[in-house]
């Protein structure tokens, strides 16, 4: 980071961050975009500037990426302002893989179903001019982010398109498909079938992938995974976060606010990990 960037890190205020995002120093602009999201500065001026940054042409990597657009797209998901939905949908057709990934994640967070059609197009790789991941060329689209968004948005029209991704060569994509199909399933039995794919993943050999499966199971709150989560070879802190997701799902389903027997079982598992 440049010297001016270090100073900015030390003491950035909302006013400075907004001024930096308006300014000419690309390093400061990229950092300000991140900072506004990190501290959830959902002031109208910040939102407007971040939306403008989604169309930035000044900040380019050698490979043609748009770092400022990536950070702006990530930040807009955290600010919760619906004005960002249409520009983020536009960003789903950006040539930069990471801009599309950030846009899909932020659209998931904003929860507006208006983006489903474009997510489905992207899932089918029907958007022209989009480049694959520079690091993993077999990652043509950010399939994991797209599938997760479709699942969270309850896009049942995605079910048949999502199923083939259960066989995708990249594990993360397979997990995202299972996670989405769990959320889109019509019956608990069908959901459990997909949840159990993620449970299987908890006993894999790669710690990173076990961590990813823990995060997915926490996100969907699959009660059938509780014991397997507690037994996974991973950090207790990650297992506790996953079990928290399972517990909170149970509490949402409790008719009177009292812990259900399943919720109490989950808390006993959590207590043993403290």
């Amino acid at each position: 980071m440049t010297e001016s960037g270090l100073n900015a890190t030390a003491a950035l205020t909302v006013e400075q961050a907004i001024a930096n995002l308006r300014g000419d120093d690309l390093g400061l602009r990229v950092y300000a975009a991140w900072w506004l999201g990190r501290f959830r500065v959902n002031e109208p001026e910040a939102v407007t500037l971040l939306i403008e940054a989604l169309a930035d042409e000044a900040d380019r990597t050698e490979a043609g990426g748009y770092p400022l657009r990536r950070n702006a797209a990530r930040a807009l998901g955290k600010l919760g302002d619906c004005q960002a939905v249409a520009p983020l949908i536009e960003s789903l057709s950006c040539s930069d893989f990471y801009v599309r990934e950030a846009a899909a994640q932020s659209l998931e967070m904003l929860g507006d179903r208006g983006c489903i059609a474009q997510l489905l197009d992207l899932l089918q790789n029907r958007v022209s001019g989009t480049q694959p991941s520079p690091e993993q060329p077999e990652f043509i689209q950010p399939y994991d982010a797209i599938l997760e968004a479709l699942g969270t948005l309850g896009a049942t029209e995605a079910t048949e398109l999502a199923k083939p991704f259960l066989e995708h060569p990249i594990e993360r994509v397979r997990y995202a498909a299972a996670r989405a199909l769990y959320q889109l399933a019509e019956t608990p039995e069908e959901a459990a079938k997909y949840g159990d794919i993620l449970v299987q993943a908890l006993s894999g050999d790669d710690l990173q992938l076990r961590r990813a499966a823990l995060a997915d199971l926490g996100a969907i709150g699959y009660i059938g995974a509780a014991e397997a989560i507690a037994d996974t070879l991973a950090e207790n802190s990650l297992k506790l976060i996953a079990l928290k997701g399972v517990l909170e799902k149970q509490m949402h389903q409790s008719p009177d606010g009292n812990p259900t027997p399943d919720a109490m079982r989950v808390m006993d598992l959590m207590d043993a990990l403290l």
């Binding site: 802190s237 928290k244 812990p259 919720a263 403290l274």
Partner: protein
């Protein structure tokens, strides 16, 4: 030292990082007091798998491991210190009590605060001398209420509530007024906490406490007195704490973490010199 124990210790000392985990697991499984210095040294090797295995071994060894763990706290290795505190929390020996008070309320690592908070509720109270158990339990209660209300991390608040539940069960007969106070505070925590998981844990703690109160005809909590005599250094230490406590109260507000931090420092200095 037997040949087999020295070869197990030698294996840990000679191991490269790939072989370390297995060597430490083997040594920990042997449950030899002579292995304590080696296991404690492993906490500082910057190998979390080996450290977890060493912590588990030290917990199994229990009370004899406490002096070496306390000694580890004074060294300038943050990770090793954190592991040592986790082991002390699980062992529950009174000599670790001041450390846990300080760690639960003021450590910068949320994992350490989480482990310490749980440990404060599950101390081996029967190992405290009769005349000191009351002040220690009151300190533990105040620290745990402070952490449950104030810590910024949900898992630390959750852990403090689990600790409060255990403490409330212990003191239900000896200090019914404290138990009632904990019950009231749990009600408030359930209502006010922003996290569903923490609210659910507070709810369950209240229910467990009520269930425990209705079956109070349990055995004398002090019948399992340990081999620690009343002449041990830590008793002197706790007496100093008792004197100091009155003075601290004049300066710092109830529940102020600095209170525990300064007390803990005084205790560790005391342990150095005695």
């Amino acid at each position: 030292m037997s040949d087999s124990s020295s070869s197990l210790i030698q294996a840990v000392e000679d191991a490269d990082s790939a072989a370390l985990l297995v060597a430490v697991q083997n040594l920990a499984a042997a449950r030899l007091e002579v292995s304590i210095p080696t296991l404690v040294a492993t906490l500082g090797y910057n190998n979390s798998g080996a450290a977890i295995a060493a912590v588990e071994g030290l917990i199994q060894l229990g009370e004899p491991a406490v002096p070496a763990l306390l000694e580890q706290l004074d060294r300038q290795n943050h990770a090793a210190r954190a592991w040592a505190i986790c082991a002390l929390a699980e062992i529950g020996d009174p000599r670790g009590f001041m450390t846990l008070l300080g760690a639960a309320t003021a450590d910068f690592s949320l994992q350490v605060r989480r482990a310490a908070a749980r440990g404060l509720g599950t101390m081996k109270w029967q190992w405290f001398p009769t005349d000191l158990v009351e002040i220690a339990q009151e300190e533990a209660m105040e620290a745990l209420l402070f952490v449950a209300q104030q810590d910024e991390e949900w898992i630390v608040r959750y852990s403090a509530i689990a600790g409060l539940e255990a403490l409330a069960t212990t003191i239900a007969r000896t200090h019914p007024a404290w138990a009632a106070h904990i019950q009231t505070q749990l009600e408030q925590l359930e209502r006010n906490d922003s996290s569903w998981a923490v609210g659910a844990r507070a709810r369950m703690a209240q229910q467990q406490q009520q269930a425990a109160e209705s079956s109070l005809q349990s055995s004398d909590p002090r019948e399992d007195a340990s081999s620690l005599g009343s002449e041990t250094n830590w008793q002197i230490t706790l007496e100093k704490l008792y004197d100091r406590k009155g003075q601290e109260r004049l300066v710092l507000a109830e529940g102020d973490p600095r209170r525990y931090r300064s007390l803990a420092m005084a205790i560790s200095q005391k342990l150095d010199t005695t």
